[in-house]
């Protein structure tokens, strides 16, 4: 290892290395059923992260979405039930 830091536990196992790709939870919000709109997520970097969608309850989710990494605006159009949108950065 030529960059970063490593931290060991009492028996010599590596507990942290800065070469790991860690996940940072940036923001999450609820998209209501049958809705459309936009929201700004300034701390999210799509080139280094990912967006996940999952259901927000019992309803079926049908959703289309996009993220503009220049303006940091997330847009959605949902024709189904509630959805939860989560933004993660990785590095």
């Amino acid at each position: 290892m030529t960059y970063g830091v490593e931290i060991y536990d009492s028996v010599g196992n590596v507990k942290l290395t800065s070469e790991n790709i860690v996940i940072r939870g940036i923001f999450t919000f609820l998209v209501s059923s049958n809705s459309s709109g936009t929201i700004s997520v300034p701390d999210f970097d799509e080139s280094k992260g990912f967006i996940s969608i999952n259901v927000g309850g019992l309803g079926t989710v049908e959703i289309s979405y996009s993220f503009n990494n220049s303006t940091k605006v997330f847009s959605w159009n949902s024709s189904g039930g509630d959805a939860i949108v989560s933004f993660f950065n990785v590095a």
């Binding site: 070469e19 790991n20 860690v22 999952n54």
Partner: protein, 226 residues
């Protein structure tokens, strides 16, 4: 404090916390298969410290077909989020799970005395290496179709099932209909299959298909835990 990796990217930043292990354990099924049901059903109740921050609810692969059935949410007045995750598996044995959240270190207990701890200007811990971090192994870029997804070699994936994009369909059969759920199954260390599998039989005739939507499902590990 920031630490950069060999690619010049920030890999440690106590001002922007990574997801940390906040709960783990195993759970036994509360419903077993019967003449109308093919899968074991599991339920886990977890608490998320901050309802505005994403989290990862990871389930260990046993080379079994798994799907997320549903999640019931309850936001408290204090901003915490209580969730009941319901997921299905054909395994039947205890299923191991890990929950990663963003949280401060005020309430975290550990019996380890080795590591690195950083403090903010108020004297509160802003980083503690003794708490296992969520390390990304690879993604499943789950699209709208079924099929094999090839990924980095991982012997035992922990799939972030809370991010799996649920979809289902029902098809008529003699005497009723079969409810199919979209889920995943590990096929090898480098392959995971996205597929629909029969889940329930009902006597009610039904034909319905829900258009699946795409989503990223990370596979997560932590140093020292596997």
């Amino acid at each position: 404090m920031k630490v950069y990796n060999s690619q010049g990217q920030v890999s440690l930043d106590d001002s922007s916390q990574c997801l940390k292990l906040s709960d783990s354990g195993s759970v036994s099924p509360f419903i077993a298969p019967d003449e109308n049901r093919t899968m074991y059903e599991y339920s886990v109740n977890v608490t998320i410290p901050d309802s505005t921050r994403p989290y990862l609810f990871c389930v260990k692969s046993d080379f079994d077909r798994m799907s997320l059935a549903r999640a019931s949410y309850n936001v408290s007045d204090t901003g915490t989020l209580n969730i009941d995750f319901f997921f299905s598996s054909e395994f039947g044995g205890p299923k191991y799970y890990r929950l990663y959240t963003s949280f401060d270190f005020l309430t975290y207990n550990t019996n380890t005395n080795y590591g690195l701890k950083l403090f903010d200007s108020d004297g509160n811990a802003s980083y503690d290496s003794r708490v296992p971090e969520a390390i990304l192994e690879d993604f499943l870029n789950v699209g709208t179709s079924e099929g094999i997804i090839t990924h980095k070699a991982i012997n035992t994936p922990w799939y972030a099932m809370n991010l799996f994009p649920i979809a289902w369909s029902s098809q008529p059969v003699v005497g009723g209909s079969v409810f199919f759920t979209r889920g995943l199954v590990q096929r090898s260390s480098t392959e995971t299959e996205i597929l629909y599998f029969p889940h329930l039989f009902t006597e009610a005739p039904a034909t319905q298909t829900v258009d699946p939507f795409p989503s990223a499902v990370p596979m997560v590990t932590s140093l020292g835990l596997d």
